[in-house]
Structures are given as C-alpha cells and as structure tokens.
C-alpha cells in the first residue's frame, strides 16, 4: 500500500490534472475556432521559451538526484542538488517574467483578445504552481539546513517531489500546445 502522504499528494495531483486539462482545452478550443493561432505565432518567442523550459525540466533531474542522495545519507550533497533545483525553478520563473513583460510592451494583454485571455490564464496558473513548488522546496532546504533533528521525512520529500514532477510534466503539455502548435 502506498504511503499516506504520497497517496494524498497523488490524489491532489489527479484533481489538479483535471483543472489544467480544462484550461488547456479552453486554449485549444479558441485556438481552433478563431484567429488565435496566428496571434500566437506572431507574439511568442519559441526559442527563448524553449531554453527556459529546459531549465525547468532539468530541475526535475536535480530534484531526483537530491532525493537519491538524501536516501543514501549524503546530506550535504542533497542540499546542493536541492539548491540547484530551486535555482533552475527560479530561472524558469524569471524567464516567464521577461516573456510577460515583452508581451505587455507589445500590448498583448489578458484583455486584448482571446489569445491574451487564454494564454495568460493558462501559463499564469502554471507559473503560480511553480512558485508554490519553490516555496515547498525552500522549506525542504531550510529543514535540511537545520540539521538531523529537523531533517525532512522521506515521505515529505517524496510528496513534494511528486508535486514538482507534476508541475514539470504539465509544462511539457502546455509548451507543446501553446508554443509548438504552429509547427505540426
């Protein structure tokens, strides 16, 4: 039987998956029904976003490494991998920030048209989830800094990892739908 915290997190992510699925469907629905595709192609910088996406995806690998180290007792190594994960997550958020400010300067806003509406809602909620994940990872890092007495339990670590991998996985779908649609 799966451990309790992990099971709770898995169920929560199942629920979150439905939430994101519907936001993605809303994007896709307007993409196929109007001018949205052309607007997306004009406004978005695929290469830049792809680079930031690589940062987010590699953060899944570093978090996995942190987990492996923690299990084998390498606490200082685990701390380094955790810090790397947080750094990569931050890079992604900064990338999203620069993308948003670029779009806003071009007057592509949430109220401009349906592309703005669906794009900012979808990627905004994803960004929010990344930010929450960063907060959780910072707590984990803080706990490992406090020493053995406060060391995070392996189940807390696993539950938060599940969340982080989920947020990364969702980004793969969002990136494919929003940025790569024009190329298929």
């Amino acid at each position: 039987m799966m451990e309790r915290n992990k099971m709770g997190m898995t169920l929560f992510l199942l629920s979150e998956a439905v939430f994101f699925l519907l936001l993605i469907l809303a994007y896709a629905f307007y993409h196929t029904s109007g001018e949205l595709g052309k607007q997306a192609a004009n406004a978005l910088d695929v290469v830049k976003s792809a680079l930031f996406s690589v940062a987010l995806l590699s953060s899944s690998v570093t978090l996995w490494q942190a987990h492996v180290c923690l299990k084998s007792g390498g606490r200082s190594q685990a701390r380094l991998w955790l810090a790397a994960t947080i750094l990569l997550g931050l890079i992604f958020l900064v990338g999203q920030g620069t993308e948003y400010s670029h779009l806003l300067r071009e007057h592509v806003t949430i109220s401009r048209n349906l592309f703005g509406t669906t794009f900012f809602t979808l990627t905004g909620f994803h960004g929010l989830h990344v930010a929450v994940g960063l907060a959780l990872l910072l707590i984990l890092l803080g706990l490992t800094e406090l020493g053995t007495a406060h060391e995070p339990t392996s189940s807390a670590m696993e539950a938060i990892s599940l969340y982080w991998h989920f947020v990364d996985g969702v980004w793969v779908v969002i990136f494919s739908v929003v940025y790569l649609w024009e190329y298929v």
Partner: protein, 549 residues
C-alpha cells in the same frame, strides 16, 4: 465494548466527554467527530436560511402579478436559495456524516489527515460566510445557481455579487477537494485488520467512490470559476460572445462539474439508505455486490451525461443522441439499487421507526424524481419542458424528496450514536408525516405547472388558469414543510435535554460504530472487535452462542 471498559461506561452524552467541554476545544479541534458535528450543525443553519429564502419565493408566487418583491430581489433570492441548498447545506451535510462515520465504521481512530479535515471545515464555513457577505457588499449574486454566461459578465451584472459567488465557491471547492482526498486515503489506509474493501459497510463504500467524484468534478468548477473571475476582474473574454468568447463553454464546464455534483449529493444518501433499510428489516442487504458495482457504474457514467443539461442549445443531433443514450443508461444502476432495497425489505421483519419511514419515503419519492429524470433524457420532452417548473419539480424530488429524506433517515438512525440520546419517535413521526405532506404538496403540482408552461425563475405570472391555483397550493404546502422542520428542531432540542439514554447499540446495528459508547470517546474504540465478515457485531453476538455464521 463498554463491558471491557469501565472508564467509558459513564459516557451517555456529549457533556460527559470532558475534552469537548470548552468552546476552544471545538474551534481548535482536529477530532473527526467534533468536525463532523460542526459540519452538520452549520449545514442545518444554512438549511434554515435557504428554507427562509424559499418561503420568500413562495410568498411572491402565491398570487399572480404580485408585488411582494422586485424582479431584481427575486433573482438574488432564487440564486442564493439554490447556491445555499447545494453548496452550503447539502455538500457540508454529507461531508459531516462522512467524516463522522467513515472512521468509526472502519474501526479507525480518526481521519488520515486530521488537520486537513479541520481545514476543510473552516474553508467551508468562511467561504459560506463570504457568500452571504455579498448581501451587504453591494448585492447578492443574481444569475442562478449555475450562473449562465453571459449573464455573469460585467456588462450584465455590475454588482459584486457574482465575484463573491465565484470566490466563495473557489474557497469551498478547495475545502471539498481536501476532504475528498482525506476520505479516500482514510478508507484505503486505516481500515481495521480483517476489513477488506469488499467488507466495508455500503455507506463507506459509497462515500469512498463519492470522494473520487468530488476530487475529479470540483476542479472543473474551479477552472470555470477562475475563468469567470478573469473575465470580471481582468477584462478577459472567455465567456463574452461580444469579443469572440463562448457562452456555451461555461455551460460545458459547469455541467461537467454539475452533473457529477448531482451524484455527489445523491450517493451518500444511497449509502445511508443502504445502512438503515437492512437494520430495520432485520435482513442482510440484498445483493451487496450489485450495490457496490452499481455505485461504481453511476460514478463512472456521471461524467458522460452533462450535455443533457444543454439539449436546447442547438448542438448537433449526433451529440444529442449519444448523451440521451448515456443519460438513460444511468437508470440501470440506479434501478438496480432501488430493486435491491425493496428486495432487502421483502420478507423482513420491518420495524417502521421514524428512520425507516424516511427511508421508505425516500424510495418512493426518489423513484418519482428518477423517472422524471429519465423523461428528460428523451430529447423532445426536454425541449418541451426545459427551464420550466417541471425541472424544478424534478430537482426537488431528487434532492429534497431523495437526498434530504435520506439524510433525515440517517439523522434519526445515528442521532443516538452522536449525542447519546434517542430522538422522540412520537414527535419524529409527526415530523415525518408533516414533511411528506408538505414536500409532496409543494412540489408535485410543479410538474403540472411545468407542463402548463410556467417558466422557472420568473418572478411573477399572469392570471391564466391553472397557474394561480397550482402556485397557491404549492405555497400553502411550503409552510407545512417549514412547520415540519420546526417540529424536527423541537425534537432535537427536547431530546438533547431529556431524551431517552441510547446506550451503545439501540437499534441492534451490525456495523462497527455501534461497538463503542454513544457518543464515542475521543479515541473512538478501546478495542475494535474482530472483523471476519460484513456484519462484525452480528458475528460477535452469534459467536457467543457457539455458532459460526
């Protein structure tokens, strides 16, 4: 159990549990029993509020061309009535019963995540208060409980009511998902040894699958709510046809949540009925396997029928046929349940206690509601009757005549366990008959009103027979229904003060909650009886007589 636990023998009422005595112990509680009671009491308070709103509507509709209230006020009142009864009354009431009884029935000490359990309750309470705050913050929501776009766009509804509606539903939705997760993990990880999933009481089984509906349906509503908030607060255009948005998208998302929601409100009621009927028929539930499997079938099908709320929106015939078919399919698992309950009663030595009376009335009234539901799955009937009083009659037969009657059955059945006191059977029977009379008197005529062409949500109507007569009858019986609720309230207050002491197992129940004191101590059980079948207390009693069941 009390024989083995002299310390617990003194527990006869909530006042005997010293941990529950201070107000602070309730506010800070993570005890599933206290949280369950708080859910149920809060839900009942909101039930009284929702009932008051309903009576206001019935007064307005009592005579044709009435000026008791303005159309704008009427819009706010029917919106708040529906929203209150579905989200502030029914869901928390069911959660209350779930978090109180699921741990007890599986022999656990508490929920899997006690603090998350408390969070769920407080999110609900403050979300509900925020909803009502809208009345003094510039106007209550006024677009109906399903808030169809584009009526919810800023241009059509400039008061902050819809914003409060969406925000407070988001808050409560987060709480509901938390509680749903908690219930699933509790059932999966905390069952006492010997209790396999297929030995769980049907109430637990149904709550378990219901919790999956909760965690998979609520996010659909939450997604739609953040979209509506983006539209209203950030001038986004999801649901605004003037900017290329789609009003139908809202309907799709809302009913993708809304139809499973109907089953979220009904499955726990099925669970209660499946406990009450066997105990008062002195027979094992007929066809446990079919009951369990049909629950799964209902939960699964409920995601594939939402379009039947949208038959009149001009979708293609292919889509209509598919969803008409899937909607009719639901009648099969539901019918299995009805027949199994009847088969359980068949040949049993039935005791018509108040709980059993409510369960029996549930069977009949829910079947009426179910049949009008199947009628709606036929597309031409839907086209003729949609948005008429026939729909109002249908939903009230399912949710009031069905769910609420079942919850009253559960209340009379479990009140002794929760409080240690029996509810008065004499007052209970008065409550029951007044309620049957009031409910059917209020709502049966609404079928006819719908057929006669009365549209729902209209604040008044012209004096064309038979509308006036039918509305008058409905309004008068609504007061009988309200009287029934007052009688119930009197019964509760009276029984808490001087009700008969219940003892551990007043009804001769077979499930684990009856194996501890009434009310159960903080830790629930001293020792959980061994579970070797679906009726552990029956096994326990008959082992003593030497026979192995």
């Amino acid at each position: 159990m009390s024989k083995e636990s002299p310390t617990n023998r003194a527990i006869n009422s909530l006042a005997d549990i010293k941990e529950y005595r201070s107000m602070l112990s309730w506010i800070t509680s993570v005890d599933h029993k206290q949280i369950g009671i708080m859910y149920i009491v809060s839900a009942f308070v909101f039930f009284l509020v929702g009932l008051g709103l309903a009576l206001a509507m019935r007064i307005q509709l009592m005579v044709p061309v009435s000026h008791f209230m303005s159309p704008g006020t009427y819009n706010q009142i029917f919106t708040m009535h529906g929203t209150t009864m579905v989200f502030l009354m029914a869901m928390p009431l069911l959660f209350g019963f779930s978090v109180y009884f699921v741990p007890l029935m599986i022999g656990a000490r508490d929920m899997a995540f006690p603090r998350l359990n408390a969070l769920g309750y407080w999110l609900y309470l403050f979300g509900a208060l925020m909803m009502y705050f809208s009345f003094i913050a510039g106007g209550a929501p006024d677009a109906g409980w399903f808030s169809y776009a584009p009526l919810t766009e800023r241009g059509y509804s400039s008061s902050p009511g819809i914003d409060y509606w969406a925000l407070s539903l988001l808050v409560m939705g987060a709480g509901s998902v938390a509680t749903g997760i908690n219930l699933i993990v509790t059932v999966l990880t905390l069952r006492t040894p010997g209790m396999t999933l297929t030995r769980t009481p049907l109430f637990v089984w149904m709550i378990f699958f219901n919790a999956f509906l909760v965690i998979l349906a609520l996010p659909a509503l939450n997604a739609a709510l953040v979209m509506i908030l983006a539209d209203r607060q950030l001038n986004a255009h999801f649901f605004s046809p003037a900017h290329g948005g789609s009003a139908l998208l809202w309907q799709n998302y809302f009913w993708l949540f809304g139809h499973p929601e109907v089953y979220i409100l009904v499955l726990p009621a099925f669970g209660v009925i499946s406990e009450v009927i066997p105990v008062f028929s002195r027979k094992v539930i007929y066809g446990y396997g079919f009951m369990a499997a049909s629950t799964v079938a209902i939960a699964f099908l409920s995601y594939g029928v939402w379009i039947h709320h949208m038959f009149a929106t001009g979708l293609s015939y292919v889509i209509l046929y598919v969803f008409a078919g899937s909607s009719m399919l639901i009648a099969i698992p539901t019918g299995i349940k009805i027949f199994n309950w009847i088969a359980t009663m068949w040949g049993g030595s039935i005791r018509f206690t108040t709980a059993m009376l409510f369960a029996t009335a549930f069977l009949i009234q829910f079947t009426v509601g179910g049949l009008s539901g199947v009628a709606f799955a036929a597309i031409p009937i839907d086209w003729q009757l949609t948005d008429s009083y026939f729909v109002v009659a249908h939903i009230h037969y399912v949710l009031l005549g069905g769910t609420l009657f079942a919850m009253f059955a559960g209340t009379y059945y479990w009140f002794p366990k929760v409080t240690g006191r029996m509810l008065s059977e004499k007052i209970g029977k008065l409550h029951f008959w007044l309620m049957v009379l009031g409910f059917n008197g209020t709502f049966f005529g609404m079928h006819l009103l719908g057929v006669a062409g009365m549209p729902r949500r209209a604040y008044t109507y012209l004096d064309r027979p038979p509308l006036g007569t039918l509305h008058l009858i409905s309004s008068l019986f609504a007061f009988v229904l309200a009287l029934a609720i007052l009688v119930f309230l009197w019964n509760v207050v009276r029984s808490l003060r001087k009700g008969e002491v219940a003892g551990d197992n007043p009804w001769g129940g077979w499930t684990l909650e009856w194996a501890t004191t009434s009310p159960p101590p903080v830790e629930n059980f001293d020792r959980v009886p061994p579970v070797r079948g679906r009726r552990p207390l029956w096994d326990l009693a008959h082992k003593k007589e030497g026979g192995q069941p």
